[in-house]
Symmetry: D2
Subunit: 338 residues, 4 copies
């Protein structure tokens, strides 16, 4: 941490800041300029994070030098993490695909979707049994019934199941059915939920929040890992910006950045990321070209009658065209479809 | 809802859209232009919300005409809601003030803070016992011990207690202590929590999410009211933008807008809204001038040693200067401090 | 400037950075921590701004300690600047009001508007003769004819004229007519225009760009002052964010912040800032309560037939209600209407 | 255009709106619902754009159905435009690369850069002679001297020259030297400049503004085409968002979207788009995978001593690795390097 003192700061104010730092068992490196004095603080990350010097008299600015997360970083673990989901590997040379409808709507719709996405080349079936919706009057999901249908689809197709969990209480119930528990964008800083999925023995897919910085996203992953669960898959799904042509702005630079900072696998959801089915296929290609480890794609047997997100869902035929493109780009990247 | 058809849409595509609407028991008003056809859909709000026409062939754009919330609106209830918190009225002619430290740090700190903010003119003591923090290594709050201290502070000062609840499970515990339950910005779309506080018999303070539109914020309030709890107080606390001089961008236009759309009382938190203590006092004045029903202010007996948010906390002396200003602006607005 | 070295940086890399700094006649203050080394750079602001160390091997992060502007700051000039516009003072105890239509549409419309805003209490008539419009097919202004009408309105009413100049070439023409030259939001970083208005002897109103940080806005003012024109009035008019209920998000915190950093007067335009006439009056009150030195308000004799921005224009009657409110808030702030 | 009337709107208010529309020679399609009336307006685009109905009594909301641009659209011209720059084709099957330093700093630096980027596979040399800089104290470019060096570099290498023009006055001077005139992000809505480059007979590269929507960007291109210059190349270079890890957020979805809406070629600048050289190569791959027609890349013989943007510049060696990747992705896309 670096503390920049005010040009008007008195000697007493400077001394009080220094005392505060040394009381916290951190070391001080002073750099006195013509106009202002700068203090370098050296010590344990945790002690520094707690140092409340910003409001002390004479302090102008405090700059953090190191980020607060640790377990997610490549300094902590250099080689990329490969998450093993019952034999399907996420990370490494593999490109995985998670596909299916936004919401589980009925047994027929789900089984039909499962069959179709398996045929199209997916290894995972996605589908929400619990749906967080902006309006209380919108379809909220089939809940436990939806989980049953997902389990049946797995039994019939062998696809792995990824589905959202929306509160700490239902973690055990969802974990019974799912192979991967998804924490949605709206819950990325629901820290109780992060801790709860951190205590189970199942992989977690952590979507980036709509307005989350990289730092916040990685800290959210750190919450999960800090509880003992190291099988975390990150998922970029677009951020909220002023642009309204797309539903969100898919931030592929974040994928490239996270791959350099962190050892965790990262996948991309271009369906929510753009909200426009015409853009899903080009952005899927771009995601793999960026270095992403996989994709999450909304596919619906009949998007026009979907109960949610029909506008961004692909038909099975368009999904299969997308998979062809992805295979070609994966080849260039020295990777292969899982 | 208005459906704008593509200029290339065929008659069959148009007919299929019309059929879909009439099947859902909604009515169709056709407007055929030279270039494109526009369909007005008339019917029950809920039926329309569920209509998945966006992905149908031939459809170019779908425009919602009415918002999905209802209970929060002035159409539903014309006169402004006044929330009675054990005799202290929020709304109406009153300007209320909720003040105190960001976090409950110790018994001494809290009791001292309570004494000071009461002296300064607050009716409510704020202070977090459960703290949602970006990093898992930052101070997470004193939890139940913190609630005890809050209860003691109430007993000693008569101040009402407003404190955050961070998951559905702890709603009963927090409700035992608090007079008003706060739902924080990060949990604004934690729908399980919204439903849980909607089922209790205590007022709820609903902070706006960092990237929440007015529409999403009011829908979050609708979730609470839809469960039966009509005592909702909204709180604007700044939104996330590109500007980094301030911690957030305090959106006072949203306050003015919400006052026209909704009957619910709205207060403003300029401490989190700006993140800079020097800006808290001018923005408190501005909030009241905009028409806000009250303020939430961070006050700490000694901001320089606060365990969180010291940079944006006021000293008791500065808080008292702020209260003088607020009283003067309240007078101009034909209102009075509670 | 502070340079944070990489933990892996070699001694040679460190030495090369140090050499680069000393070659530029700046001084180095070293602070060697357990994990990383930090370099404080001390020297002339200009020399430091040009130092391209960010890309040198071994450098992790570079942090600017001082901003690049100087003439706009209170360190440079402590007391607030009062801009004298032909006897009407902007700044000091005065609250000024600039009102009128968005665009000059016709002689009749402008003279009628001038009469009405004078009656309502404005000291300045605003109105665009040159209109920057998103679409090339929208009304682009009456241009020189519009300037003539403005001059006539001044002769008839005594109101001062503020009008936009959209390129360096037309600065002399506009300066012939206008008492204050406005640089619009879209041109805030049109540096050729800033230099041109910096070389004339007329006050300049500098609107904040839609996506401009405080730092960029103040640097734009620095461009004008650096050419010798110290009569700059800043104008906050809303920034672009994700919120779409309002046309822009009026950032009143920026006004409070600029008043602490800079000696320049700041006014607020709640008409463009919100884009919704119902919000103009409450936000005008809030602006004055924040500490703004004045307002710019769109008033149109008949908003329903305005050629641009009718939605955000006030009728003369609503303008007069607004002025009553503003006078009352000004009183609380110890100020008076000009 | 669709006009949504207020539920409380009177018959007289409705009639006045209808009269206003018919006076403007537009046609009205009425759709009367249970709660509110909706008016469809049909007529010439220009007439509708000018209709100021938003502020009329009884009007709740106005929704534009068609965008205001025309010449840029695929409806106007179905096949993709190929811009011929002295024999180098931009668009079609070609992938072009524009590379070079941010600014022309000296004859030696530029000639060396030209040699290196030609060797690396670029067809265009980029480099700013006129530099728009946030601070008036930062390096502003070599101006006409810089243009001379660019001309010399072209003569020596055969590379085409793309360089920025910052005001209408210098368009002829820059056009004398440049093969493509660049309009920078800060000038995207400098309409005088757009009109000026619209009147010359040289291709124009139009960068997207930092906070420009797709609609505004395409309208800026429409300004140029409306003056008669149809050789416009669009360039995505990142938008301003809350994320501060990268300098901007590169919006590749915008590229995919523009390719569907418009016939104009689009290239991508991942150097400004990310501001971090480590991210340039993955994002260059992603851009081509999205469907972009080319790249603009900052390359500097020695980024560590660059006078601007050193942090985001590639070394010649890293540039050549990038070009290998791009060639491979181009192959998958059925395209080839120019």
């Amino acid at each position: 941490m670096i503390i920049v003192m005010n040009p008007q700061a008195s000697k007493e104010e400077l001394q009080r800041v220094i005392d505060r730092i040394t009381e916290a068992h951190c070391k001080v490196h002073l750099s006195e300029g013509q106009v202002r004095t700068i203090i370098g603080v050296i010590g344990e990350k945790k002690m520094i994070a707690e140092l409340p010097v910003e409001a002390m008299d004479g302090v102008e600015k405090v700059v953090a030098v190191t980020e607060s997360y640790k377990l997610v970083t490549r300094e902590f673990k250099q080689e990329g993490t490969v998450v093993d989901v019952g034999g399907v590997l996420v990370g490494g040379d593999n490109i995985v695909t998670m596909a299916g409808p936004c919401a589980v709507e009925s047994r027929e719709q789900l089984l039909e979707s499962a069959r179709l996405v398996k045929e199209g080349g997916a290894q995972f079936l996605r589908g929400g049994a619990y749906k967080p919706r902006t309006s209380p009057y919108a379809f909220q999901g089939l809940e436990e019934k939806g989980l049953e249908f997902l389990a049946e689809a797995r039994a019939k197709t062998g696809l792995k199941i990824v589905t959202e969990v929306i509160d700490a209480q239902s973690v055990p119930t969802v974990a019974d059915c799912a192979d991967v528990l998804q924490v949605g964008a709206r819950n990325m800083q629901n820290f109780q939920l992060l801790k709860a999925v951190g205590r189970i023995n199942k992989p977690v897919l952590l979507k980036r929040g709509m307005a989350a910085t990289l730092n916040e996203w990685l800290n959210a992953a750190e919450y999960i890992m800090n509880e003992g669960n190291y099988n975390v898959i990150l998922c970029e799904r677009g951020i909220r910006t002023f642009e309204d042509y797309t539903r969100n702005t898919l931030d592929l630079s974040a994928v490239a950045a996270v791959k350099t900072i962190s050892h965790l696998p990262v996948i991309v959801d271009p369906s929510h990321g753009t909200g426009v089915w015409q853009l899903v296929r080009p952005m899927a290609r771009a995601a793999i070209a960026t270095g992403a480890d996989g994709l999450m794609i909304e596919v619906h047997p009949n998007p026009a009658i979907a109960l949610s997100d029909g506008k961004q869902s692909l038909t099975p035929k368009k999904f299969s065209l997308l998979m062809n493109d992805v295979a070609a780009i994966a080849g260039v990247m020295g990777r292969k479809l899982a």
